[in-house]
């Protein structure tokens, strides 16, 4: 007898309830297995459920989606057009690797010294002492590290709370889960200051001193209604259970706040706006401009990619230099204004990325130690 899938799924639900409550097993006449086989199955479930749950939790569906998405997207068209202003727009395909053509005689020095970024940060405790966090395990009274990052114990605080800071250097990135369950991904060259525990009845406040961070804020209804606020140098973002990205690099003189999910209110002394998902607030000269954007571009870094849309080579190289911790020099100033669109993987070697860009034959790269020169 062939079962209907409805029956199989119904049976699984009943089984889950029965196993949870340690009660009598549900009637199984609708399922095409003998009583002995059913018994065998239930036995196996009981023995394996813990390790199976760990197996399930070990799989990051979002990351796997990114891998899949790259494979199913149509390969990029290579359209090239040159205008008088010499703006070149090229789509970079990540799955193909082209032979690097050298126009001039200058040899490209392949060096071991530029490496792609990795998980690293410095934890600064209340008393000022510093702890280097890498892949090794670290534990203190309030937090411990695991393969994802630094996780704080989920405890409420009283009135006097200690503050910690996480400093992520160039070439680094890090993940931290705060005491209220809020998740924060920190990009290179970022500093986040936050309390070790949150006090019920008080708003939950953290400070992104500088850099870029992606926040997945734990809902305020789970925290006595205490709202969550992210302060940066020049603005305050107030959130109610949501996901958003804040980019506040001092050298850019502009702050970008991109909302993926939920709702946030953004304000400073002069202006204030309410944002909806899919919008980005740009703070320049003390005023906010809110426009719809493709959120994926602002948050690609958290998922392991650089995504560029009609981005100047200058800005692209600034972005790359933070992650690869290198210096960039434009020998040919015109090329800084060339524009590119496409995706690059943050895990790739810098040589591979540069080859992809150089493939357009419009730009050449020369690497000396940790410096890249652009011709």
């Amino acid at each position: 007898m062939k079962p209907t899938w409805g029956n199989l799924l119904e049976y699984s639900k009943k089984l889950a309830l029965a196993i949870w409550k340690n009660k009598k097993l549900p009637d199984h006449t609708q399922v095409p297995l003998t009583p002995e086989k059913i018994q065998q199955t239930v036995q196996k479930i009981r023995e394996q459920q813990e390790s199976d749950r760990i197996f399930l939790e070990g799989i990051n569906a979002e990351e796997e989606w990114n891998t899949l998405y790259i494979k199913i997207k149509k390969p990029a068209d290579f359209r090239k057009y040159i205008s008088f202003a010499a703006i070149v727009m090229v789509l970079i395909g990540v799955t193909t690797l082209y032979v690097y053509k050298i126009k001039r005689n200058t040899p490209v020095q392949i060096t071991e010294q530029i490496t792609s970024g990795s998980t690293k940060a410095t934890l600064i405790l209340e008393d000022g002492s510093k702890v280097a966090l890498t892949n090794a395990t670290y534990t203190n009274a309030n937090a411990n590290t695991n393969k994802e990052g630094l996780i704080y114990n989920k405890k409420d605080g009283s009135s006097e709370v200690a503050y910690n800071s996480l400093m992520v250097p160039r070439g680094g990135q890090f993940f931290v889960e705060l005491a209220d369950g809020t998740k924060v991904w920190l990009n290179s060259a970022s500093l986040l200051k936050y309390p070790v525990k949150f006090t019920p009845g008080k708003s939950r406040e953290v400070k992104l001193v500088y850099g870029e961070a992606y926040f997945e804020v734990s809902n305020s209804t789970a925290h006595h209604g205490d709202k969550f606020q992210v302060l940066t140098q020049n603005q305050t973002v107030e959130v109610l259970g949501t996901e958003f990205n804040i980019r506040a690099y001092p050298e850019e003189e502009t702050m970008y706040t991109t909302l993926k999910k939920g709702s946030i209110a953004i304000s400073n002394d002069f202006d204030h706006k309410l944002m909806k998902p899919g919008e980005q607030a740009v703070l320049q000269n003390d005023a906010f401009t809110v426009t719809p954007v493709d959120v994926d571009y602002a948050t690609a870094w958290k998922n392991g990619y650089f995504m560029f849309k009609n981005t100047s080579l200058k800005n692209m190289m600034t972005e790359l230099s933070r992650w690869y911790d290198m210096t960039v020099v434009f020998k040919n100033a015109e090329k800084a204004a060339y524009h590119f669109s496409g995706e690059l993987k943050r895990g790739d070697d810098i040589q591979k990325l540069l080859k992809q860009i150089a493939q357009t034959n419009e730009v050449q790269f020369e690497i000396k130690g940790k410096t890249i020169m652009i011709h």
Binding site: L8, K13, L15, V31, Q49, D52
Partner: protein, 187 residues
């Protein structure tokens, strides 16, 4: 260009919901996490490329579990063919492709994913209690192990059970909003 099948959003929602359980299922055949992920990814790619359309949750699972099983068995068979000169091939020679195993594994995965979803949504303490309860600890044993009162154990178990039942109600509603009257935001 695709002119049939799921929209990208529907496909993504399906992928996010089903990828991990399908890997667990594939693993029961392959006993190799990476190989399992590869098999499931390939199945999803085929679904997209062929423009397969699912009219319901059950239809999707029926297709996916079957496709993953078939691909897993193929993988095992080709492994055996390549390794018949090695000793380990003997273990793999007896590939279990029976209906019994199939249904057993489906039920196992479907049951465990519900348990996992429920437990992962519980606060730490409650989850710890349920975890021990699933290992068939008695209330007394749990209370001793975690250093709490038996009453706390009982109360937390009630809360956990309520959460599980809530989740089971919504479990079917994963998918394909245009078939229902209201639309569900899948994120």
């Amino acid at each position: 260009m695709k002119n049939s099948g799921l929209t990208l959003n529907e496909f993504k929602a399906l992928f996010l919901a089903e990828f991990a359980p399908l890997c667990l299922f594939a693993n029961s055949y392959l006993h190799d996490q990476q190989a399992s992920k590869d098999v499931v990814q390939d199945v999803f790619i085929k679904v997209w490329e062929k423009g397969v359309y699912f009219s319901s949750n059950s239809a999707a699972k029926s297709y996916l579990y079957t496709a993953v099983k078939n691909k897993a068995i193929d993988t095992l068979r080709s492994t055996v063919l390549r390794n018949t000169d090695k000793e380990t091939a003997l273990e793999k020679l007896s590939i279990d492709n029976s209906d019994d195993k199939f249904y057993q594994e489906v039920i196992s995965v479907e049951t465990i994913r519900l348990l996992q979803k429920a437990i992962s949504s519980l606060p730490q303490k409650c989850a710890a209690i349920i975890n021990l309860s699933l290992k068939e600890y008695t209330n007394e044993e749990i209370a001793t192990e975690l250093g709490i009162s038996i009453n706390t154990v009982k109360t937390q178990k009630k809360i956990g059970y309520k959460k599980l039942k809530e989740l089971l109600q919504w479990h079917v509603v994963l998918f394909l909003s245009h078939l229902q009257n209201s639309s569900y935001v899948i994120s």
